[in-house]
Symmetry: C2
Subunit: 325 residues, 2 copies
Amino acid sequence: MKPDTATLIERMLSGDRLALARLITQVENRTAALPAIMKAVYPRAHGAYVVGVTGPPGAGKSTVVDRLTARLRGEAATVGVVAVDPSSPFTGGAVLGDRIRMQTHALDPGVFIRSMATRGSLGGLARATGDAIKLLAAAGYAWILVETVGVGQTELDIMKLADTTVVVLVPESGDAIQTMKAGLMEAADIFLVNKADRSGAPALMAELKFAAHLHSASAVSPKDIDWEFPVLSAEAQNSVGIAELLVEVKRHRATLEAAGALATRRRARRREELRGLLLEEFREKVERALAGGDVGRTVDRVLEGTLDPYSAAETILAVLRLESS
Amino acid sequence: MKPDTATLIERMLSGDRLALARLITQVENRTAALPAIMKAVYPRAHGAYVVGVTGPPGAGKSTVVDRLTARLRGEAATVGVVAVDPSSPFTGGAVLGDRIRMQTHALDPGVFIRSMATRGSLGGLARATGDAIKLLAAAGYAWILVETVGVGQTELDIMKLADTTVVVLVPESGDAIQTMKAGLMEAADIFLVNKADRSGAPALMAELKFAAHLHSASAVSPKDIDWEFPVLSAEAQNSVGIAELLVEVKRHRATLEAAGALATRRRARRREELRGLLLEEFREKVERALAGGDVGRTVDRVLEGTLDPYSAAETILAVLRLESS
């Protein structure tokens, strides 16, 4: 490890926010120092409780996170916020909620806020988010709120990093819900209908409550705890419904802990993380192989259409010393 | 290769539809015979032209595919149809368009229609679709129409298998468009506004034409051909606009061929296919490793949280003889 990385880690562990920010930038950029950083912080990265907040664009997730942060700070708990924007892999455009609202907490040393956006692969983004969460945990933040825009597969992957997931919807988000209904049902521990003063809110809540009931009776519902997801209403802009949301988050946490499910789920998450890392390592090897070298002629024949990819894969795996067995 | 697989392939190549159907089932189920099947058919799998048809649920994709099939049959061209439903990985629920409409062609020996749904991983579905396309090509179908529901990442992956991609929208699909705009722009070669008799159609067409213009001037537009995607209107139910659609599909094909871009793109596609296969092979090795065996103790320590996954990955890669270098 370079001396400056070791120094950064030391400073981060003793509470230096700038050092923390720079380390998160390193995991975001997947620099060469990444394994060393994660090895060093790992032993101290297990204390935090992670709450995911997701939902379609315009649902008011940023405001919910802001008000939840204020509420937790009122209890003197420290809070780390990671706002993730998978957006499009094609344009790299950012559509994150208005970060300006979070400026309430800008001068509060008990709050650390960080946005993360796509750098290359979406899989990489989920892994970088997981690593950033560990850095925040090692830095001592007790609660970590992870906010993602949208309801796509990457967002669901990111939500798997959370102990409790809150899905924020508004009456207008109907179409997005339809598209991703099954995924949302799978990911959500709590539904929050925001902007609940709008017409359409009671109908949406009724629909979600019915869905909650069906889901908890279905085969896909996780059975490690007895939990039918609550459907709450809020007007986050006016701080209405946030206290009730925090009560439910804590009740979910207590339910997980009482059943031993928090530990079990974190084990499963670590398995996923290891799997992702191994695949990433191999992916890099494959990229190097496809770029030429020992198997260049084999690759060329595939590109010409004269060799089928199955035969080529056998040859290349043998060269990479991964003989099919 | 088992004798019955060899016989199936032989019968498929001589025009036996039942043999073709059974071979597609094998690629769909990713059976052990898959590499042998693909090796055998590969040399004959390059003749077909592949048209992708995608768009949000309810846009009328099935009807468009049905009418396009009829049109191509009117020119005595043979047509293979693959209708793919990535739907949700969680429920396995199917929301494919009404296949009954395709019964028009059920007795036509020049048309072969096949639905495919998620079996396990979504990545696997895209690969299975690619293999099914090759089987149809080897069986002699000149045009292959690939229909997918939705506008998510998996659908975009499947659309990468197509030489020409038609995105079907209806005035009501506004929200879905917003969410996936960048991805759709990237994937689409032709936009078709279906149900064009509805109010809202002119506005949608104007919006898409503006987007087409912006996109063709932007950095993300592929520059291997000079192509600003046309925005067409149709009432597929009444066969209105289908002749014009086919004209544009053929014009796109001719443009690709004239620029040499069809060959270049197919090379790129074969590279992606090889990459996917290699990663799939390795994924299986990783699954076996995580299930125990030589590295069981290392995995256990990660699950307990006592060993960081980066260190564990190094150990496991060494055991899998993929030393980090």
